[in-house]
């Protein structure tokens, strides 16, 4: 009898909106295996694809996960579309009519390429993710904004150049970036290799804000704690692998640093896996040569990692932080 009562209570509980604010206890294995099972499906029947991916899952976060994982592992970055669009948008940047006309024409090409070849650029990823999620009854939106990576002209991001998504799960908004999670294009060979990076799924808003700046401030999800675009453009450069290893990037807060000879500069991060702390090292470049360096001092407090370093000679250095083989972040350091 007790078990019947329990089942009935559970039945009731399932009819109420769930209140879990954290999904760490949820295992995404089932959602991921469903995404894998439908690998190679076509984009001609989106309602059907969305149903296939989500119908056997019980929670919204798992449903969203299956769709997200499918998009990230089935849609390739198209570097030639990207360069073409970039070139034209640059050319028409001061001519709103021509820019609008270009957007209309290009939009058609973009969606045709997405359906036919399953290749696209950011907006295509964000749009497809939103559509599939909406068919599954999930509240998912596209966020337009500025994305800051090592290859963009990082000091002069004049116009929004990137799209990502927000999704509402259990009454709370979460961030994700399907484009950057799918892999990294080789800009020289125009080849794309899928390499799923889980760090961009429901990413921490504070880490996300280091290289994502939304046009609409509320989508930073930082609750008013936003920096200005000018401030954003001064951020350090963090790479995709930062999302794999870091919970938070605390300091240095800016890309360009000026210190004196023998003055210590501090790097402070919160790591997901503290055992990786011993694999942290720097690669320093001065324009003539590169060398590997170890932090002068390493302090570990719970999940917090603090590194210190000083230079013995004046100069201008690019300092890259690595964890193992993974490039995490870059700063420039002028030593006077």
């Amino acid at each position: 009898m007790k078990s019947i009562k329990l089942i009935l209570w559970l039945f009731f509980a399932c009819q109420c909106p769930a209140q879990i604010s954290d999904f760490k206890s949820i295992n995404f294995k089932k959602a991921d295996s469903i995404a894998l099972a439908y690998k190679g499906e076509e984009l001609t029947h989106l309602p059907d694809l969305s149903y296939k991916l989500t119908s056997s899952l019980n929670t919204d976060v798992e449903r969203f996960r299956a769709i997200y994982k499918w998009v990230c592992t089935n849609i390739a970055n198209d570097y030639s579309l990207y360069t073409k669009n970039n070139r034209k948008r640059n050319r028409f940047k001061d001519d709103p009519l021509k820019l609008k006309a270009w957007n209309t024409t290009f939009k058609k090409t973009l969606f045709k390429t997405l359906i036919k070849d399953k290749r696209t650029i950011c907006t295509g990823y964000a749009y497809l993710l939103k559509e599939l999620a909406q068919f599954a009854g999930l509240n998912c939106k596209i966020v337009q904004g500025y994305g800051r990576v090592s290859s963009t002209d990082i000091e002069n991001l004049e116009r929004p150049n990137h799209s990502w998504n927000v999704v509402k799960l259990n009454n709370k908004w979460y961030l994700c970036d399907p484009t950057w999670a799918s892999g990294i294009p080789n800009t020289e060979t125009n080849q794309f290799t899928f390499k799923y990076n889980d760090g961009f799924f429901l990413a921490d808003p504070q880490l996300f804000a280091i290289n994502h700046f939304p046009v609409e401030a509320k989508w930073s999800l930082l609750n008013g704690d936003n920096s200005s675009l000018k401030g954003f453009l001064k951020h350090p450069i963090i790479y995709g692998q930062a999302y794999k290893h870091l919970v938070l990037h605390n300091t240095p807060k800016q890309l360009h640093q000026v210190i004196k000879k023998h003055e210590r500069i501090t790097f402070n991060y919160q790591l997901k896996d503290m055992t990786k702390a011993k694999e942290v090292h720097f690669i320093i470049a001065n324009g003539f040569s590169d060398w590997i360096a170890k932090p002068t001092q390493t302090t570990i407090k719970k999940t917090n990692l603090e590194l210190e370093y000083y230079f013995k000679t004046t100069g201008f250095y690019d300092l890259h932080v690595y964890i193992g083989k993974d490039l995490i972040s870059t700063y420039t350091i002028k030593v006077i």
Partner: protein
Amino acid sequence: MKTQLKLTQKKGFKTLSFVGIMMLTLFVFNSSYGQAQNQQEVTKEKFTVKGNVSSEDGPLPGANIILKGTKMGIVSDFNGDFTFPKSLKATDILVFTYLGYEKVEVVINKDRTFLKIKMVTAAVEIIGALDSAKPYKSKRKN
């Protein structure tokens, strides 16, 4: 012995009444049951819905047309034409979708059995920044 029997009986009744209350509340508060019945009583008439889907470039083949809330649907043919496979009743909603176009929802009524649907391209600014694993390199004058 007797009292024991009574006790278990009492317990049984308690659980039964608990189950009863649960079931009752379920039916009372579950609005979908009520709705479905009402609709059937009001409109029993069913009819075939046909139509044509187009975009600004002409007929739109391959548009998805589904009955809202179900998996049932069809795809528009080469000329953008379609005949929905199931007879529909008033208040049913057909959802028209095509990747890159705004979704269209149409409420069916018996005066509207031929639908001319014009789909418009999604209002979205196309942009894209690609991630790079290339280490950043400062521009140096020397």
